[in-house]
Amino acid sequence: MAALNNLTEHLESFVDVTRSPSHHADSLKAIASSLEKGVLSINQLVVEMDMYLTTTDDVIRARGILLLAEMLNHLKEKPLDTAVVQSLAGFFTAKLAEWKSVRGALTGCLALIKRKDVAGLVTATDAEAMAKAMIKSVQVQSLALHDRKICFELLECLLEQYPEAMINMGNLIVYATCEAIDGEKDPPCLMIAFHIVELLTQLFPSPSSSPLAAEASDLFDIISCYFPLHYTHTKGDEASIPREELSRRLSLAISSTPFFEPYAIPLLLEKLSSSLTVAKVDSLRCLNDCVVKYGVNRMKKHYKDLWPALKDALYSFTETDLSFGLESLTSPGFEMGEIHREAVDLLQRLVKQDISFLGLVVDDPRVNMISDTISRYSQFEDMPDTSKLEILVVSQILCVSARASVESCNKIFETFFFRLMNTLGIVEKVSSGDLVHNENSTASIKLYHGGLHLCIELLTASKDLIPSSEESSSTPWCSIVNRFSVSLIEAFTSVVQSSYDECSADAYLGVKGLLAMGMLCGGSSPVSKSEFEKILKTLTSIITAQRAKTVKWELALKALICMGSFIDRYSEREKAMSYMGVVVENLVSLACSSHCSLPYPMILEATSEVCSTRPQYVEKMVQGFEEAFCSSFSDFYVNGNSKPIENCSQLLECVTNKLLPRVTEIDGLEKFLVHFAISMWNQIESSVVFSYDVSGREFVEAAMKTMRQIVGVALVDSQNSIIQKAYNVISSSTLPAMESIPLTFAALEGLHRDLSTRDELILSLFASVIIGASPKASLPDVKSLIKLFMVSFLKGYIPAAQALGSIVNKLGISSDCSLEEACDIIFHQSFASGNNISSDDTDKTICGSETLLSKICLGFYGSVDLQTRAITGLAWIGKGLLMRGDGRVNEIALVLMECLKSSNSSGNALHPSAMKHAADAFLILMSDSEVCLNRKFHAVIRPLYKQRFFSITVPILESLIVNSQTPLSRTMLHVALAHVISNVPVTVILDNTKKLLPMILEGLSALSVDAVDKETLFSLLLVLSGTLTDIKGQQSVSDNAHKIIECLVKLTSYRHLMVVRETAIQCLATLLELPHGRIYPFRREVLQAVTKALDDPKRRVREEAIKCRQAWTSITSRS
């Protein structure tokens, strides 16, 4: 009963028109939800509403009916009793006659009709009655916008769901539609109205006895007046339906039935001749639809009018310049406008649908004039714009027609190709067998650019129409091309070869022509194998004959790449073989021999680009590169020549930059690269002496990079085989001897960089292998490797330290040495196995400051050099541990911080250089390295490791800074802190702004003293600027405003780095966002500084200064 009480309340509230719309919506929702839950049935509702539905008060009755209708709308998914639906349908149909409650009646009818796939559908008879009632009593155009929309929706639904009932109504429904739509101006309504027309025409498809046949003219008149669509009001709701969409609908409506044809085509042709772009584009699109729907027979009689109009549209484009650039080698070479694009589409559609349309094209006098135009000018640049336009458009017309179908292609070739060849003076050759080199025939060739362009475009357009080999009968156009192919290739070749650098058009047309001929692939291609090879040979010889990068060289290379990928895409076995034989092998052999006029980097570029088109070529290339590497390398160590080692570096760079990034795209590349890496090791193994100078240094760098990355991308198994190979090489060298170096302090003290260059190369490469290896790869004899790396990094080889970091980072359970043991070796054990070097202290239990390594770091023993190396090494080891989340990094951090103290446990400060290294160690620990320990090299990375390190070290560093006694130690501690702060994610800083801000500011002033710290200073300044703009930091920024401004003002004249000055000034401008009262007192100070910055030596700073000065001035002048 409570539900019913509420109901009355809600009903009252809905019916009361004085209430606000939100009240109405609330009560609707409440009633709907009780209906949905089943608390209330629709019958009960109707009974309850009795009074509202029958009262004589028009307003209340209208609201009541609307309420009932809205309820039905909510219940579209709910099954209802058929009888209920029937009576409701009757009710709403009857109410259509009452204009005062027409909104509710329409909504109700629509809600009922929209019911789908649930129990309780409106019957066809009811639907028909509804339609008739609507036609009889509702004057659509006299209604308001929303009601009109409902009317159209209702009509649309009726046509969609009850087609039979609507057909029964015959003429009536057509009349009614005409009447309803006539005069409609609203886009959302028109969207539906056009769809209604489309639906209507689908109801009556047959030509005879259709009510449409008689009414077509009227109906078309009503919709055609909208064409072409033009929005007068672009603001407001109308814009919600884009013009494009509505225009598409209209076009569909116009093309919906062939009955419209006699009216539509003349109209469209007339609109096409208009000067409005929109009208032209729309007409072309609509014609395209009509051609499809109306059919050939009906369209045929319009061809005579259609062709001139279409031709005008094609000629309408203004761009007459043909681009001879690299990028247009595979595209038409000019920009098409919208009109032009649509016109081209229409032409292709027409020719495709009816070949007889082509007759008009072929017989057109303007098209036939083309030979004359061509033969008037030999160079494209010399032509006047009108001739250029003529040639571009005619070639476009012919190409599009040729592309439409095989028949059209045949016809175009039969009529135009001979004539074209004649104009160009290209003579047909009987067969490729008897190539009689007739001097006269080549001399008579007249290579007009226009003709060449047309010829190339035709060949390119027809390349998709080559029949597959199953259709054995050779098509006429293929045989025509076949007859000329030899001469054509010769002609194109002579164009390229005769071209010189200033005239790119010659080179472009020649290469494009050869490319077009080469692309004529397929079963019965008109280009034979030997001709194809000739094309490839010509292009390859262009590449190899150059001495520098010219336009011609780049064009030829691009053409070869296109052909390569084309062959791969259509898997042409035979062509691929030719390509391999002519192009790939030729280029690869060039890479192997160093005797070529072409610079080595260009050979490599050409080879790698060409070969990456197909996996087989890649294989060949990597093999070739391997061979080239081996021969150059051995040439180097036998003859001591520096040229081959430069080649080696370039080769490796090519492998790293060109091949490695594509390892996922090219199948099997990984395998070849691993093979390459192993043969690098083989080569190094067999080299006996290796000494190098500067170029050798570059080689080592390149080799390390390549090795690292190959190992990085290789699968675990391949990694294992590389590691094994590398380990064998190591074992056979003199390096293992280093493991037995007694690591007494005396012995360590005596260490120098005393490795032979060959050993150094081996060591660096081996370190690279370890750096790139994944945690799953198995390392042999980890313990002695660790010792080897320990000794070498103490000798000053940084890669060894990085490798050690990688080892401790990735060491897993599978290895023969656990992380515990590894750390034991690094931190505790004296390195020489069993050789106890207990010096003055005996306590080696903790891995903190009491271990040998930390003692070296702290400078207890040994020289400064040894100390700095130990510190850097320790940092890399620490990085490895930090990233995997190992606790031992804390102790390393403590050691490093101990190094920074003004007086450490031994009572005296460290050497400044050692301190500097210790401070920079924090950068190593926190920053992301490109070289090792990153995702690419499979590092074990624990989430949030930077945050953890931040929270451990920052408090300690802070207290150390407060207590530091010497300025040097203080500065160094600030450097360390700056490294930590500037490498942690900015959100962490923002959470701690209050605590950090004073430290950052102090750091900025400490770092600004020495030019050495300029980069660190800049990154710290960036952190500060990040806090200024964020809402979280606002309060503490406001509190510290005076200090911040003081600090920034000082930095505006920082001499050593322009970006610092620039950023400082930008920060000052940002500070204006703070409350006016807070910053006003500083204006004089700031303006003074910024005015000084107006005279900064750098333009960028001056620019910022002007903006900042203006901003600060305006707060003073406005007050």
């Binding site: 322009m1058 750098k1098 960028r1100």
Partner: protein, 159 residues
């Protein structure tokens, strides 16, 4: 008092390309000095809006790059502007805008000379005298109406 616009239908020219300060090659070298040059000074004033029309002085060819003469070593700059019509009463306002903008943008060591191009204005001498008289300029900038007008014209050039 003439009502309506002084030049009702000015010819609008195209803007010239700008120098991209970000990609200047000198950015890599800390020690190199970018001296203040013609183009830089022109960049300061080219976007000043005409008091009458919603176009910049550059678009109306009141100012061109060649109308600026700079001598950085002597800290001197001279701007010669060409009013669109001979009897333009806006000439003083335009000149004042240019002067204010340069005062705000150039280092204080600079001496700024503003003048009307010879033979392009009816009261050329008077305008030149007015624009280069320190005290008259200062007095003009005491006038709140004038300052508001100048600030409005300058606002696009600070973006």
């Amino acid at each position: 008092m003439v009502s309506g616009l002084i030049n009702e239908n000015p010819i609008v020219y195209e803007r010239k390309e700008r120098r991209d300060v970000r990609t200047d090659s000198s950015n890599t070298n800390e020690l190199s000095v970018d001296t203040i040059d013609q183009l830089e000074v022109f960049d300061h004033i080219r976007d000043i809006k005409d008091p009458e029309h919603p176009y910049s002085l550059e678009q109306l060819k009141v100012l061109t790059e060649d109308s600026v003469e700079v001598d950085d070593s002597k800290s001197h700059v001279r701007v010669t502007f060409t009013p669109t019509v001979e009897h333009c009463s806006m000439a003083t306002i335009i000149g004042l805008c240019v002067r204010v903008k340069l005062m705000r943008s150039l280092p204080s060591r600079y001496k700024i000379d503003i003048r009307v191009a010879p033979g392009t204005h009816a009261t050329e001498a008077a305008v030149n005298k007015q624009l280069n008289d320190k005290e008259r300029v200062a007095a003009a900038l005491e006038n709140p109406n004038l300052v508001e007008m100048v600030d409005e014209c300058l606002s696009p050039s600070f973006e």
